[in-house]
Symmetry: C2
């Protein structure tokens, strides 16, 4: 019997199985090592079906994360422009997402990652491969320094999430976003592009 094309009852279950397999595989192997083939195998479906439903590995990862925004669009846009304002623009972009309706989804992922080891691994892969790696590439940072610089940037961005949105420490929680951009932006800029000779001594 040949089925007609169109909406089939099994589709949603299949998509859910693929997303669950993707979450397990990305958390277990890390983003770079997780292949569409491995995820398809874990879900018990053909790799072509994964491509059909989700497109690229990157798009599948964003779907598996329930990511409320696409860093592939957001990061280059945020970092376009002169190098010296990059820190402020990065903080402005983060606050733009978190203060928007999409912010509650981001907050939910963050909270879950704090108490669940597998979600923590997924969030780490998301932050490292989708956000920090893109920022490093846009700013053309020294490859020897980029990993530590970008993980320092992660501390400052994650800390705003905790203090402003989770613990809601005042006056930060109610502060105008531009006050936070002016206060925190230069610190992020230092992590990104300052020589920091005590951290990266000249050879």
């Amino acid at each position: 019997m040949v089925r007609r094309s169109g909406r089939r009852p099994g589709n949603q279950d299949t998509k859910t199985s693929i997303l669950e397999a993707a979450r397990r595989t990305f958390a277990d192997k890390g983003y770079d090592q997780a292949s569409i083939r491995a995820i398809a195998g874990e879900a018990g479906v053909d790799p072509a079906l994964v491509h059909h439903y989700f497109g690229t590995k990157e798009k599948l990862f964003l779907a598996a994360m329930n990511a409320p925004m696409n860093p592939a669009e957001l990061i280059p846009k945020a970092l376009a422009g002169p190098r010296e304002g990059a820190g402020e623009r990065l903080i402005r972009a983060a606050l733009g997402v978190w203060d928007s309706p999409a912010g509650s989804a981001a907050l939910a992922i963050f909270r879950s990652a704090m108490s669940n080891e597998w979600t923590a691994r997924l969030l780490r892969e998301f932050v490292v491969t989708q956000i920090l790696r893109r920022a490093v590439s846009e700013l053309v940072l020294d490859p020897a320094e980029a990993p530590l610089r970008s993980s320092l940037v992660a501390t400052q961005i994650a800390g705003i999430m905790v203090a402003r949105y989770v613990l809601r420490i005042e006056p930060l929680a109610s502060a105008d976003p531009e006050i936070i951009v002016a206060a925190v932006g230069p610190n992020v800029q230092r992590f990104l592009t300052d020589p920091m000779l005590e951290v990266f001594p000249l050879n």
Copy 2:
């Protein structure tokens, strides 16, 4: 029947009831508004018994938080010395606790606060009244600027907790503490004592 003094079976239950009442009251009213009297009332015991078991309100709060260290000792010690190195000394003190055996208790409180609203309120009260308020007082900051400055410091310290200990982003997660002190200390110093004219315009 008059009981003999000494260890009674009911003691541990009474202490547990007082601690539970203290957690509810501190989270509900905030540290400043929560009185020993109110906590005793919530636990259904005499206030004198609360003082007998726990001493001061501050000591009761630390017991209720399962705090692995006492900020009343740690913060003045960390901030003693010249004003200009205060940021580095604060980060060194935080890493000293978190990298020690007491760190796992601190991490457990932090994780719990991320997913539980009541624990989040307790942790906020702990951070604001026991850590930040003490730091502000030691450094004699301008009272008009101190709340925002200290909540900015909280973002950077909380962010190290997230990136190094929860998400374990490398190379930060394995970095020597003194590298982190050198990298992050000056940023904390800026939050504490830099004029930051874009944030605090001169009147």
